[in-house]
């Protein structure tokens, strides 16, 4: 039993950390967030060159063959810099679905383009009515000419505006909320019949609503099995839950250390804020929230790596804690920064907003706690 990282893992972590510190400083980040696409493709190209885009993929497709620990380390450091480029959407969701579910032709055809940075991807799963239920899919795919015809609408698609390729969940059979009958389709984002409306979210990312009207996909572009897309997307989303949590941990570390630093220097009533005992104890509590959340991140990563039987519980527990600790930490960070904390200029509010987006992605705290309870007590 150990919590050490391999030498390779330490190198990977340090490489991302150094890049974020040197090449992704706050002014750079603000400029990217204010750009039209909310990302910088030259940065993305650097990610490719540094090998980060290859991490979860198999070596046969040019991947690094990394595991949950590697992804965790990368996401934690990206979180510290509030990096906007679509690592989650392209590498972990779009790439994750291909990696876990694509047949070998699809993998060979599409994974290398992820790794070399030439293809951005997105996973379009959410619909207006579906809230947090992945199985709530009204978009239809009907058989047509040996292929499929897709109709429906997907909303808040991460990286939906910039993606070159999409994977879309659609119903090939069953009722609106059935787990069975969902199929995943790979298609170019500029396919005929696709209309995208893009808009910016509070964390700076640009997302899109995507309307599909008689969009044709051939049968070879089904990712995973017909009608059995739900299990595949659930598996990929569970991995993504850990990755998002790692990003959140990186953010929380920043919020805590920036807040401690601020109170150490900022004076009020002639004394540094950090000397007020009531504030000290509150910062101790945010420190402990961070450590507890980090422990559950490690627990979930270990459970995933070990294929432990409580893996699902560990991931739901993690998301509950990330939600709770996140709100606790960014709430105190804003409050203890006082007036400065509510300005757009300071980074604190932006860290908070990214945490809030993470906390609503793939289910909020209540959603995951209800799932945890159902698995554990029923």
């Amino acid at each position: 039993m150990n919590f050490d990282f391999t030498e390779e893992q330490v190198m990977l972590r340090d490489s991302v950390a150094r890049y974020v510190q040197d090449d992704y400083d706050w002014d750079t980040r603000v400029a990217i967030a204010n750009s039209e696409t909310g990302m910088d493709l030259t940065k993305w190209q650097t990610f490719a060159e540094l090998g980060w885009l290859s991490i979860p993929f198999a070596e046969e497709h040019g991947g690094f063959g990394g595991g949950a620990v590697d992804v965790m380390l990368v996401m934690e450091e990206l979180g510290k810099g509030l990096v906007l480029e679509p690592y989650l959407a392209t590498v972990l969701l779009y790439g994750g679905l291909l990696h876990k579910g694509g047949n070998s032709e699809l993998q060979a055809a599409y994974i290398p383009a992820i790794i070399d940075g030439s293809c951005l991807g997105a996973f379009a799963y959410l619909e207006r009515q579906s809230r947090f239920e992945l199985a709530d899919v009204k978009t239809t795919a009907s058989a047509s000419d040996g292929g499929y015809m897709l109709n429906g609408e997907k909303v808040v698609v991460f990286n939906g505006a910039s993606a070159d390729q999409l994977i879309v969940s659609a119903r090939t059979s069953g009722e609106q909320s059935d787990e069975h009958g969902i199929t995943l389709f790979l298609l170019p984002a500029d396919a005929d019949g696709i209309e995208r409306v893009s808009y910016r979210m509070m964390d700076g990312q640009v997302v899109a609503n995507i309307v599909l009207k008689d969009v044709k996909v051939d049968a070879g572009h089904v990712v995973g099995e017909l009608d059995n897309g739900f299990a595949l997307m659930t598996a990929v989303v569970m991995d993504a839950n850990i990755a998002l949590s790692a990003e959140a941990i990186g953010i929380m570390a920043q919020l805590n250390s920036k807040t401690v630093e601020y109170t150490r220097t900022r004076e009020q009533f002639g004394v540094a804020l950090g000397k007020f005992q009531a504030l000290q104890h509150r910062m101790v509590d945010t420190f402990m929230s961070y450590e507890q959340a980090k422990s559950l991140l490690y627990r979930a990563v270990c459970a995933l790596t070990d294929d432990a039987e409580d893996e699902v519980q560990a991931i739901h527990a993690l998301r509950v804690m990330i939600d709770k600790a996140g709100k606790h930490i960014f709430g105190e960070a804003i409050q203890l920064h006082g007036g400065m904390g509510i300005t757009d200029e300071l980074d604190i509010g932006h860290y908070a907003k990214r945490l809030m987006m993470i906390n609503t992605t793939f289910g909020n705290g209540d959603y995951h706690q209800a799932k945890f309870n159902a698995v554990r007590y029923n």
Binding site: E133, Y199, M201, M202, G339, M356, T360
Partner: protein
Amino acid sequence: MDTRFAPEDIAFRDEVAEFFDSAYDTDIEARLSSFDAAVFKPAIIEWQKRLYERGWIAPGWPKEYGGTGWDATKAFIFESERASRGIPEVIPFGLKMVGPVIYTFGSDEQKERFLPRILSSDEWWCQGYSEPGAGSDLASLKTRAVREGDEYVVNGAKIWTTYAQLADWIFCLVRTSSEGKKQEGISFLLIDMKSPGIKVNPIVSIDAKHSLNEVEFNDVRVPVANRIGEENRGWTYAKALLAHERTAIAGVADSKRGVEVVRQYASAEVNGGTRLIDEPLFQKRLSDLEIELMALEFTELRVLASVASGDAPGAESSMLKIKGTEIQQQVQELAMEVAAYYQGVLPGGPEPDVLGNSLGPKAFKNYMYGRAATIYGGSNEVQRNIIAKAVLGL
């Protein structure tokens, strides 16, 4: 002990309801909720003039100065009816802040000059208390006013000034002496925003909007006649106002309205076949909040009743400020939970029908700007210090 409404109170409630239902039309509602100052500023003035013409613009003021002379019950009814319709509060800086200072401590000339135009909303006020670097330690202010004949020459800066960019006048605490304790040596000035030497620097806030400002004073000349009361006694006047401000800040009626909005959306929102309002964890979150709010409503009534029976609003107002703002933030947070993915949508993005949601941007704006409530008006930490000292005697 009796909380039933008397028949005349019920008649009054009907009268208020009737007025709001006709005066607060959909046109004014839409303009008031605009994010564009060119639209919302005239709308606010128009709306406040309707209240003014009805005689209801200043419930808290004494009758002789144009107030309503209502008792606590009537004031409560008026607030409830307003908030339950989602009608915004009046802009407080003139009507709730400087107005009471002027009629309590001002000269007859000041009353005559300023009060009518506050009531009629012909002059827009803003507040110059906080300073860069001072935070909650209000009394450590450094903006200096040096007397030269019949004028003060003011130099310094104020910060977090809401709507300074729209205001005609600013009321300021300035230092006129550096002797004695820091609370002494402060004077209370009324300053024309058109005075040469005033510069307004916008601050974009966490909701990505511009309502806050820094206001710089460079050799701004202010007639001594615009000083409230005596020189170096400004802290006393400001303190009286602060307690008043904190009572108003509880916002119970508005939080009730916020809960109602949350309930409506949560009844429509469905997750995996279950309405959100039927989810046990959501119900718990909501009822935790509603129960605190039911309590706070009576806490406020108790404080108001004791004020009505002659007690000045004291440290209890600090409690209303703390609980009121904490609950308000929890209501805003719950709206964000209901909005789910859409909580991240910025105001001014695609229209709701394109987007798929109408709660998101509203929830975002309220939540984000609401973060300030526990910070301004004397941070909640400072309020806790006040209660510890004044109520608990620690």
